[in-house]
Symmetry: C2
Subunit: 332 residues, 2 copies
């Protein structure tokens, strides 16, 4: 008899579904492409089928599913689990939680903002013994965050806390996907990095970056990062600018929250870790009060890819009694 947890990471490009035991041993995980353009109903079907299939593939009928946890892009209304106006999913008012509970005939599924899940994963499986106040920041296509404050996940009034990509730090600056100008996400994310590189290329420059895309345009942040790590000066200049903006944004967070630790994750931050770690820390520490700098650690996620699944498990573990125990044959 196995007792297992299902974790699902709903992303704009892919859906990760995993099954694990309570100690975090991952029995199985699958990826599929998010059929976002086919609409929310289609994607809800993908989520439902993925959960059923991973249970069917890994469980005998008498096994117990202890809980199902879904990580979703935000803004996500909490505790209702409704995706509001998501710039990434391009969805508006999709009640993920209710739909999945209905489709799977389960009375309670936890649906949480993906950044909160990531913060919970880092905290629970990394820093819980050491720290009470942790900020997780993801830098990839977008920028977002999750907080553990006073040892608890902090979600805000409706679950909207952590939209730190939408802190305006350059009024009148570059247009953001959210409609405003000069958001941190608009000047320091992967989207900003690729935009700057493609602007350069349109001016006939950036040949060193183009080499990394085999001449294919537009180039992606991944290719700019590769060129940067290889020493291309134009790529470095673009990354240095993004690091400067990111440093300012993080310094603001430090003065606002005085966290014990900031953990950076996301493909851009992790891909450039060796190049940005030191200058970013310098940028931040120069721009905060001495007291705040003295009590601050800046780290990079070490649980990386597994972060979402372990975060889902952590979400189960902070409130196991709210989840119903359901026999596996219910889903098979």
């Amino acid at each position: 008899l196995q007792e297992l947890i299902i974790g699902v990471d709903l992303g704009a490009t892919k859906i990760l579904t995993g099954i694990m035991d309570i100690d975090g041993n991952i029995l199985d995980q699958t990826w599929i492409k998010t059929g976002r353009k086919l609409g929310s109903q289609y994607v809800l079907g993908q989520l439902t089928d993925g959960i059923k299939k991973i249970i069917k593939d890994n469980c005998s009928p008498d096994d117990v599913i202890l809980g199902i946890v879904v990580a979703s892009p935000g803004p996500l209304a909490w505790p209702e689990g409704i995706v509001y106006d998501s710039p990434n999913l391009k969805w508006s008012m999709v009640p993920i939680k209710r739909e999945l509970e209905t489709r799977l005939k389960v009375p309670f599924i936890a649906v949480e903002h993906d950044t909160n899940i990531a913060a919970l994963g880092e905290y629970y499986f990394g820093y819980r013994q050491q720290y009470q106040d942790l900020i997780y920041i993801t830098v990839s296509t977008g920028i977002g965050g999750g907080y553990i404050l006073n040892g608890q996940v902090y979600r805000g009034a409706r679950g909207g806390a952590g939209e730190l990509g939408h802190m305006v730090v350059k009024p009148g600056g570059e247009r953001c996907g959210c409609g405003r100008q000069g958001c941190l996400e608009a000047i320091a994310s992967g989207t900003a990095i690729s935009r700057e590189a493609n602007l350069l290329i349109q001016q006939g420059k950036g040949l060193g970056i183009l080499a990394f895309s085999q001449g294919k345009e537009p180039v992606s942040a991944r290719e700019v990062a590769a060129a940067c790590l290889a020493g291309d000066p134009e790529a470095r200049n673009i990354i240095d600018q993004a690091v400067k903006h990111l440093g300012l944004g993080i310094a603001n967070l430090v003065n606002l929250f005085n966290p014990e630790i900031i953990i950076l994750g996301g493909s851009v931050a992790l891909g450039l870790k060796d190049y940005i770690a030191e200058p970013l820390e310098n940028q931040v520490k120069q721009q905060v009060f001495r007291m705040h700098a003295d009590s601050l650690q800046i780290s990079f996620s070490s649980i990386g890819q597994e972060n979402a699944l372990l975060g889902c498990l952590a979400r189960y573990l902070i409130g196991p009694s709210t989840f119903p125990r359901v026999k596996a044959d219910h889903f098979i």
Copy 2:
């Protein structure tokens, strides 16, 4: 036999000492000018003498002092109660808590950042039944904040949370007292308002504002506010700019925290309340996600002057068991 609480608000310009019962009835309160220029030892003497005197004046020897709470400008290391590098007090590393405990021979005195005390006062005596997530913002000479998150005061790693006047929202902008450029405090505080007015006056303009200072220069934020309320267009322009910046700063906070309520206090915000309330709310709500706007209330402090003393009482009430009961004759 009376059981009483002592509350002290240490400000850069004045010290308020009050004595009250556990229901918030204020028996007596006194103000003296902060002898800041005479040094921290002198001011610690003022605090000690003020506490002793108010007990002597209001208590019989058998009365009980339930607790002493001191509100201090920040950055203030918590729980040690050490003023770090305070731009307002111009102090560095002054161990207020230890000094007062030694001088008054009391084993525990709570010393808290004044903005946290204000937030606690608002929460405990105003919104506790309704809200769990509250941000208090003071706009006066400087700008600062205190948070109640998940129903608890949030202080951060060393007590430095809430330095929201030092969120940079205009990189390369006006110089701030903290040394950086473009901090919210440098562009939206009373200091910024008076600076802008005096720049105007130096250019031979701003006569409508000067009328409110009887021609005395430099003019203060209070005089600009008075001119604004009287309809002077130059004063209105200055205030409108400050409101615009303040709206941006608050919108950033809303996207970061998704609070249920924001409460504005401080002389500038309260003095201009009728003029700024509506445009400020519009500015904020236009710049945040719909979900965040839907769940947001913006209010002004209603406990005003009493805020500091009631905040001290609230600080006692959230942890009464940590305070020693001390007979009044100990202080007399």
